[in-house]
Symmetry: C2
Subunit: 345 residues, 2 copies
């Protein structure tokens, strides 16, 4: 297939081909192929001549063509929400390390929380014949992937489940984690507890809200409508929601923040408020321990989520797995001060 | 090329081919090809029959084969130091957005600050025929890329320059930024100022150390050997370096931290110290303003670095650029309190 590199429209027109190597070494094409692919049947002297020609011409094997012929591309795709969100850094790196251990390269892209962009990206990766996909879904309907999965693209969902199809998924215990975090605030004397989360169509946001409601029900506290606010995690929206809960005649005395983007903005609002309000956030983040007070969090292990998902992907590519499975990883409450403040007043 | 999908060893053996679509629609292969590629010469009725067959079979065009035939793969590679380092998040996302605007997908990988791993990754991406590479180099010798660049792989270095070859590079003004940061400490009365940086073979670490030395020379302060420490940015090493500078009969009264990984550890050491020490860090980081005192930093714009590098890459792919250029972006001193503390004692 390297001969396509000779077509005039080809940017790689200058790349030496196996034919060039054969001509320079004065051997046949099959002999060059044997040397390049490490196959037997070549004398030491001939191999040396071929290697010298390869060196002199700067010949490099074209893996794209080779892997296409073999039907595997040794590449996988990772579709996440935002390459710039620090939560996904350790997850991406973990997926990369597993891929690397399997000799595969990683495509990486952001859905920007837009279901259309997720689909466009996932299908573009399939059209490029990735062997598998790790997807943090933005959308709730993944039937568009059915033909790809049937055709052999291994697919594992992580952080949030797939919608409308039966597929592997690796999640944190979002309900249990939020329930434990809110119960912690209740145990420190709070009853008026606010919840600020991501958009309700996002699985993790809905599950964490459910965990909040379970903990409040466990404690026999009826939740007032003004105590919960779900929406985009942009600072303006979160700030408005926090300020509303914290004002009026009966403000909340504690806030449970639904993810690290929310927590960071709530910390800013509380720093300006001038009276102590308890705070527990879902997701750990760097420097949470150095703020005053330190921020109590429900930590999930983003690296372990990525590693577990990628391991499943490659086991599936090896043909080792049959039925899709749901794997749920535990969360961990880390107390640092902000979640142990008593109710003000 | 889709017919290779029929070979028995192929994992994608179940994918419907253009031949299957042609058979089902009762038309010739060329007609299917015209419909798939949006070419003229097909009646509306025939196009509808072909589209129905495509839909029914779940046929998808194989972009890998198509782009190989055209000599462009519409993919680029980004080699950075660590996918998990928050500094690279906005840079990666910016490169992705530029690639997306050009219809290209992004391969992403970490060198883990290991020159061999950088080379292995860059060459693996070239072997996969990426159209271009954006590289944050770990190594100092990039002659291994010469055959690839000659063969048409557009290559732009970012954050640190290439070694041994003439290539585009987009940098921050590391020397000027560090010089301004250290001058700021001098202006607040400090003379015994420490510098803790990354490994000296890393361009940014060396340039920032040079900026520190220039500022000290500007102020007529001879630098004592015990005031500078370069090495890996793992917390243990940085902690030891900081503790050494801060102990003894004549400790430093201020520290300039060479990057965000160093700053975070120095902040932890100072929080335990119990006496005020001034701190300026290179690189801004989330929550730097919420620590007490807020952390004064020399900020570089990591998103702009990525965007500028990716823009150059695609202009080069369009044939718009000739000679390699060095682009230097300014840094910005942000004062928040830690850099304005007076010398203790």
């Amino acid at each position: 297939m390297p001969e396509i590199a000779r077509r005039p429209e080809n940017r790689y027109g200058n790349r030496p081909t196996m034919k060039d190597v054969a001509a320079r070494a004065g051997v046949g094409l099959k002999t060059v192929s044997r040397v390049v692919n490490g196959e037997p049947g070549v004398t030491a002297d001939t191999e040396r001549r071929v290697q010298e020609a390869i060196e002199a011409l700067g010949f490099r094997r074209n893996d794209s063509a080779r892997v296409l012929r073999k039907g595997r591309t040794a590449s996988i795709g990772l579709v996440l929400e935002d390459l710039a969100d620090p939560f996904y850094g350790p997850l991406s790196r973990a997926v990369e390390e597993v891929a690397r251990a399997h000799g595969a390269l990683l495509f990486n892209g952001s859905s920007a929380e837009d279901p259309d962009r997720e689909q466009e990206l996932a299908l573009a990766l399939c059209a490029r014949r990735v062997d598998g996909l790790v997807i943090i879904p933005a959308g709730g309907d993944h039937r568009y992937l059915e033909p790809e999965i049937r055709a052999g693209v291994a697919t594992v969902f992580v952080d949030r489940p797939a919608g409308g199809i039966d597929a592997d998924v690796v999640l944190s215990d979002n309900h249990g984690g939020a329930r434990a975090g809110v119960a912690h605030l209740v145990a420190h004397g709070h009853r008026r507890i606010g919840f600020i989360g991501d958009m309700p169509r996002i699985h993790t946001a809905a599950e964490r809200l459910r965990g909040y409601r379970t903990a409040m029900e466990d404690a026999g506290i009826p939740v007032e409508p003004s105590w919960t606010s779900l929406g985009a995690t942009v600072p303006e929206r979160v700030r408005r929601a926090a300020e509303e809960m914290l004002s009026g005649p009966a403000p909340v005395t504690a806030i449970f923040a639904g993810n690290n983007r929310v927590t960071v903005t709530v910390v800013r609002v509380l720093a300006e408020l001038g009276r102590p309000v308890a705070l527990v956030g879902f997701d750990d983040f760097e420097l949470a321990d150095l703020l005053r007070p330190g921020i109590t969090v429900v930590a999930q292990d983003s690296g372990r989520l990525g590693r577990t998902a990628a391991d499943r992907l490659f086991r599936r590519l090896d043909g080792a797995l049959v039925a899709p499975e749901r794997v749920e990883l535990p969360t961990r409450l880390i107390t640092r001060g902000s979640g142990e403040l008593p109710p003000a007043g």
